[in-house]
């Protein structure tokens, strides 16, 4: 859905957009999640054709369905209350810009392109909303703040600095709990409160090596995986007894 919207938006963006107004790429489009993975940095770099323009960089993770529950007090105990599902919530959302995005674009443009935390929050898509609009707003805010707490939503406080007015580079820290799947790096060139160009490149996070093999086996051959796990535990238990017995 996001990708479809984005593609549509890129096609429909008015005011004579030139595709070459901005060029950008990522240093390493494949983030390998190995056994030693503990988070990583993703570097997005590029150049603006026109000096004097501003740039907004957004990194979006694969869409996920999230279930939010309110905790309620029942007979003195805190229980999980009714659930609200949100679909196609980006599994990661990182944003950086040369200036605060609210000063760069109109509210309408920000919301259309989901730029900035308030636009992201407003775009959260509930499944058959069970509550009124005010509750829905607090629910959306709760989703954003929970994800931000986990390091999965980041709005960089420091502005991007343009070298020679045209070259830019920005780092995003992906935490170790980053979702696995296709990411999208979108870079927008902005001038006079208009998007004058945009470019999107893919980025993929993927489990590789032993971690990936183990994950695959667990899902593709669960019975074999279960038996191997059990055998390893039995072997280790037996070995432990023997090792301490031998002394």
């Amino acid at each position: 859905m996001i990708r479809w919207l984005l593609a549509a938006l890129l096609l429909l963006t008015p005011h004579g957009t030139r595709a070459q107004a901005v060029l950008a790429d990522v240093t390493d489009p494949l983030v390998a999640i190995t056994t030693g993975f503990s988070g990583t940095e993703v570097t997005v770099f590029g150049t603006l054709e026109e000096a004097g323009a501003d740039v907004i960089v957004v990194l979006r993770g694969p869409g996920q369905t999230l279930k939010l529950r309110h905790k309620q007090r029942v007979f003195g105990l805190w229980l999980n209350g009714p659930a609200q599902l949100f679909v196609q919530v980006p599994g990661f959302y990182g944003l950086a810009a040369t200036k605060p995005v609210s000063s760069l674009l109109s509210l309408e443009d920000l919301n259309q392109n989901r730029l900035g935390l308030s636009a992201l929050q407003a775009s959260l898509d509930p499944v058959r909303a069970t509550s009124g609009p005010e509750v829905l707003d607090t629910d959306r805010a709760a989703v954003v703040s929970e994800l931000a707490k986990r390091g999965l939503i980041v709005q960089k406080p420091e502005p991007i600095r343009l070298l020679a007015g045209r070259l830019f580079k920005v780092n995003f820290a992906l935490p170790s709990n980053v979702p696995v799947g296709p990411f999208q790096v979108s870079v927008y060139a902005v001038k006079d409160r208009q998007i004058i160009g945009a470019i999107t490149t893919p980025l993929i996070t993927s489990q590789v090596g032993i971690a990936a093999d183990v994950h695959d086996w667990a899902y593709i051959h669960p019975l074999i995986y279960a038996l191997v796990s059990l055998s390893l535990a039995v072997l280790m238990g037996g070995f432990g007894f023997w090792a301490f017995r031998a002394r």
């Binding site: 503990s38 369905t65 659930a83 489990q207 971690a211 667990a218 669960p222």
Partner: protein
Amino acid sequence: MQVYLPIAEMSINVLVLLALGGGVGFISGLFGIGGGFLMTPILIFLGVPPAVAVGTQANQLVGASLSGVLGHWQRGGVDPRMAGVMLGGGVIGSGLGVWIFGLLQRLGQIDTAISILYVLVLGSVGGLMLIESLKAYRAARNPSLALRRLHQHLWMHGLPWKMKFPKSRLYISVFVPITIGFLGGLIVAIMGVGGGFFMIPAMVYIVGMPPSVVAGTSLFQIIFVTAITALLQAVTNQTVDVFLALLLLLGGIVGTQFGVRFGVKLRGEQSRMLMALLILAVAVKLFFDLTLTPTDLFSLEVVR
């Protein structure tokens, strides 16, 4: 040094896992219990998804219990017939427990249900043990108090289908161990623990088994119930993380040996009193987690 856990999909420091396995292993060696009732809440606290913590624990306990039971077996501390009868109840209990687990998961109440169950089971078992061990402690210091009979005759000794258990020197109805095994199996599936903290007191006080065969028999039975549970969890829910299980097991095996050696120095009632206090402490902690206003008034989870 971080390790990425492929099923939990997160990374944790290896040393933390080894230390956790070692610490819990020490306690389980000391008291002759599996220690799952400590391990599962700590794993959840470290950020491991509750379902993965429960499933992985079952797998880990197979190895830990095996490592423990071999020593008991050599010393003749296992009553295989009693374990077999209990296992019959345990398999049914485990199956029912997995079904209840799924039902509560669909209702979104599994974490609360686990917490309430922990508070109830740990609170009552710990409380009963503390009272009993205090009595025993006083009796040991003051021998003039009446000696306990070898075992008491309670209502359930009148139940039918009696069976001889030569190793335990008992002639009792099979319904008693089957019921205890059943409740144990239920606890394994829902709480992600071996159930020793519940079965050991039940075997001593309700069945009336001699203490020398209680720990070994309980461990022997737990190996099979946890193995079946781990198999079910891995096949139906993909919630067994083999890396996590083996790292915890590695620390656990070493810790258990030290615990066993240290435990020899403790007297029976002292050891039971300490274990009762530990169980009560976990129950109190979970009780406050349930009743105090949480810092987060929302819970957020990814739907797969």
